[in-house]
């Protein structure tokens, strides 16, 4: 036991928050080991004592006492170190080749269940996922009380162990999909997963895909709905959202929370989102096409007004729009980077001062400001921040094609975009699929 303790100390002794604490209870001495930063030591000790006292005084057998405290394991250095790193308390008893793993009272390191910060919910359940994987699974279980929900947990990583959990509804999911995902995770279980790019790699997705393969959501309602639709959820420890597989095109437009509204209003809202996406994609391209290449499409009155608003603008439409789009992207990026208290200042400086000044300086036309404002606002109607990012990127493709081929370029761009979307699939399920219900995926 002494040598074993020495060995552990050699491994972990470099940490100042590692403690080795001799203690005794009822005349039996033992040594406690763990991290002060992970274990609430005082309360754990009290709990251990209470545990002991609640039993009859007559326990003399050491094994029996050990069993009272926790799990008894044989000496295994690797395992012990992993346990300690994972926040467990280790008890070593003299003369034993076994040790006890105690579930201590941990120091609270996760935030409580809070309302979502990246997504807004109107009239819906307000709790959101947080960093703790067990809390997240618990929330889903609470949201979707069904005997068919299954949870599979994997430990991955070679350097850093990370817990991944796979949730699915046994009744609705395509068993093939679950098999494929489990096989994929198991085959690359030594990958370290710290972010979504790592996870994509683990899942065997191309790292160059513009459309995210996971539909990320913070909302338990969405996650529970995904289970019901036959999708699977992945939780990664310390990532405060559910990763829903597969991500489908329609997820960009529909929220399960929409169903808290009357049906006609739900349809109206969803149509609005489709219009929003189309506006974001088409408006800048259309501006370039109509102003530079095909002004004959415009009515003469409009053509004259646009011509007047562009009078004195030195650059061609494409330069003008790329210039303004990049400034807009900078504003968006800046306001996500900045602390919340400074954010509004940037919005004001960017929106009002820059917008007004740039028109007064005759660098760009009035109409362009309107088009860009519409584009940026419309971009935010998409469900899911990741989706809005890819839409934001796609509009540049259309702008460039429009500057070359005009309205025809717009059409060509849409065809290219559709072809790209059609080419995406996740574990054999096309991105354009609408229905994920069991047995119906092939017809999609």
């Amino acid at each position: 036991m002494e040598s074993y303790m020495k060995e552990i100390e050699r491994r972990l002794g470099g940490n100042d928050d590692f403690f080795i604490l001799p203690d005794h209870m009822g005349g039996i001495p033992y040594v406690m080991m763990g991290f002060v930063t992970l274990i609430d030591l005082t309360r754990t000790k009290i709990a251990l004592r209470k545990n002991r006292e609640s039993l009859s005084e007559t326990i003399s057998d050491l094994t029996e006492l050990m069993a009272v405290f926790g799990d008894i394991r044989e000496f295994d250095l690797e395992e012990t170190v992993t346990m300690i790193m994972g926040g467990k308390l280790i008890l070593l008893f003299g003369g034993q080749r076994r040790y006890v793993v105690v579930d201590p009272i941990p120091i609270e390191l996760s935030r409580a269940v809070e309302s979502p910060t990246n997504e807004n919910v109107l009239q819906g359940s307000m709790s959101s996922f947080n960093e703790d994987i067990d809390t997240n699974i618990g929330i889903v279980r609470k949201q979707s009380i069904s005997k068919h929900v299954r949870v599979k947990t994997f430990l991955t990583g070679s350097e850093q162990l990370k817990k991944i959990s796979l949730l699915y509804d046994n009744c609705h999911v395509e068993p093939d999909l679950v098999d494929k995902i489990i096989k994929q995770i198991e085959s690359s279980s030594d990958n370290d997963i710290n972010n979504l790019q790592n996870l994509s790699k683990t899942m065997g997705f191309s790292s160059w895909s513009i459309i995210p393969k996971f539909y990320t959501t913070e909302l338990p309602q969405e996650a529970a709905n995904a289970l019901k639709k036959g999708k699977v959820i992945l939780f990664v420890d310390r990532l405060p959202f559910a990763l829903i597989l597969p991500n489908l095109l329609w997820d960009m437009f529909s929220l399960d929370n929409d169903r808290n509204f009357p049906l006609p209003i739900m349809y109206a809202i969803r149509i609005l989102r489709v219009i929003g996406v189309l506006t974001t994609l088409l408006a800048p391209g259309l501006y370039v096409a109509l102003v530079a290449v095909n002004p004959e499409v415009l009515r003469i009155e409009l053509a004259l007004t646009i011509a007047q608003s562009r009078e004195g603008v030195p650059y061609p439409a494409i330069v003008e729009i790329i210039f303004m789009l990049i400034i807009l992207e900078l504003i968006i990026e800046a306001s996500t980077r900045l602390p919340k208290s400074i954010g509004p200042t940037i919005t004001m400086v960017g929106g009002i001062i820059l917008g007004q000044a740039v028109v007064t300086a005759r660098l760009v036309s009035n109409l362009l400001i309107i088009v860009l404002a519409a584009t940026t606002i419309a971009n935010s109607t998409v469900v899911g921040f990741q989706n809005s990012l890819s839409i934001r990127l796609f509009k540049y493709l259309l702008v460039i094609l429009c500057s070359i081929y005009g309205v025809l370029g717009l059409l060509a761009g849409l065809v290219i975009l559709s072809a790209y979307l059609a080419s995406i699939n996740t574990f054999g399920i096309s991105y354009l699929n609408f229905n994920m219900k069991k047995g119906e995926t092939e017809n999609g």
């Binding site: 003469i300 439409a317 500057s403 070359i404």
Partner: protein, 352 residues
């Protein structure tokens, strides 16, 4: 390799697109009206260009001459600071003398060249074109599109104005059985332009003229809506609210016979004396029939089938003989025109 190929394709897109030839809208002049006249085999082109300047539209009339229309436009473009873009031309104004001598060449050029949209309206100017543009310019200064608005269905168009587009004129030149009527205008005294009726075009040549009342019947015959036209008679004036027409063509003893029945719905506007509604109905039916018959005699004499009556015999006369429609069949055509009026609303005062 794959990357290399796609890079090559991308660079070809940039290198071969010719996008540097695109001219931004503010560097194009957008003429709205193009006037064409011809003197001694030289074309003279008038372009009416609206120029928006600080909440106002100035109107520029630019002229140029050349041996072809394109030559003339090219000369104008060379002398202007911006590129002339004819795609926005909404109205082509033809000199009456030129129209009488035949415009089929120009129309074919418009169709072939694609500089001018085939949807462009065609009209005839019954006045010296230079004078016309000078007079018109002073009257329409605050708004650059007046001449075009005159023919616009949601603006100044009235059912007695024929609407004919370049492609229709082109079609009439090549069709065996259909001619077109082109509105004739000249500058007005108190209004910008005055409508005079329509020129009857046969194979690209103006051969006759009908007045605006007759043009209304021409429009009605072709199924155009005549809604909003007020007919004044001896005892009443009525407003036409809707119209529909049915045609039936048959051959009787080798002669074409066309029966056309027009149904009008009218609203009584004013009455003189105390006519009954039957009298008013009778009056309108007789008046329209007489007017139509007179017009048809005139048209038959000119040999131009602007009503498109030949269309109703296309399934009866074999294709080989169809090309003789204008010469052999049309002069013999008997047209039985019937008017059936329904008075829908007599207003607040009842009639007997």
């Amino acid at each position: 390799m794959k990357v290399g190929k796609s890079m090559l394709a991308l660079s070809l897109v940039v290198a071969l697109c010719g996008c540097w030839d695109n001219t931004d809208i503010n560097h194009r002049v957008l003429p709205v009206v193009m006037g064409v006249s011809k003197k001694d085999s030289e074309y003279k082109i008038f372009l009416q260009i609206p120029e928006p300047i600080q909440n106002r539209t100035l109107i520029k009339i630019v002229t140029g001459s050349g041996s072809t229309i394109n030559h003339a436009v090219d000369k104008i473009s060379a002398n202007l600071e911006d590129h002339v873009d004819l795609l926005h031309v909404k109205l082509i104004l033809l000199d009456k003398k030129y129209a009488q001598s035949g415009v089929d060449d120009s129309i074919a050029d418009f169709m072939r060249g694609r500089d001018v949209s085939p949807k462009t309206l065609v009209s005839i100017c019954d006045e010296d074109m230079e004078q016309f543009f000078i007079k018109v310019k002073t009257k329409m200064e605050p708004k650059g599109t007046t001449l075009y608005d005159f023919f616009e269905k949601n603006a100044g168009w009235n059912p007695q104005i024929a609407l004919t587009r370049v492609w229709e004129v082109y079609r009439s030149i090549h069709s065996y059985t259909r001619d077109v009527a082109i509105p004739v205008i000249h500058s007005g005294t108190s209004t910008v332009v005055q409508h005079e009726g329509s020129g009857v075009i046969k194979n690209g040549k103006m051969v006759a003229q009908i007045d605006s009342d007759e043009t209304l019947l021409f429009n009605a015959f072709n199924g155009e809506s005549t809604q909003g036209k007020i007919e004044v008679m001896d005892h009443a004036s009525v407003l036409i609210t809707s119209n529909s027409i049915r045609h039936k063509g048959t051959m009787l003893d080798g002669k074409p016979y066309l029966k056309s029945k027009i149904k009008l719905k009218v609203v009584i506007q004013e009455t003189k004396g105390h006519p009954t509604s039957d009298e008013i109905k009778k009056e309108i039916e007789v008046m329209l029939k007489t007017r139509f018959d007179q017009m048809f005699v005139k048209l038959q004499a000119s040999g131009a089938d602007i009503l498109g009556t030949g269309q109703y015999f296309r399934n009866i006369i074999p294709r080989t003989q169809l090309k003789d429609w204008r010469t052999k069949y049309y002069p013999k055509l008997k047209l039985d025109f019937q008017v059936q009026a329904t008075i829908e609303n007599t207003g607040f005062t009842n009639l007997q």
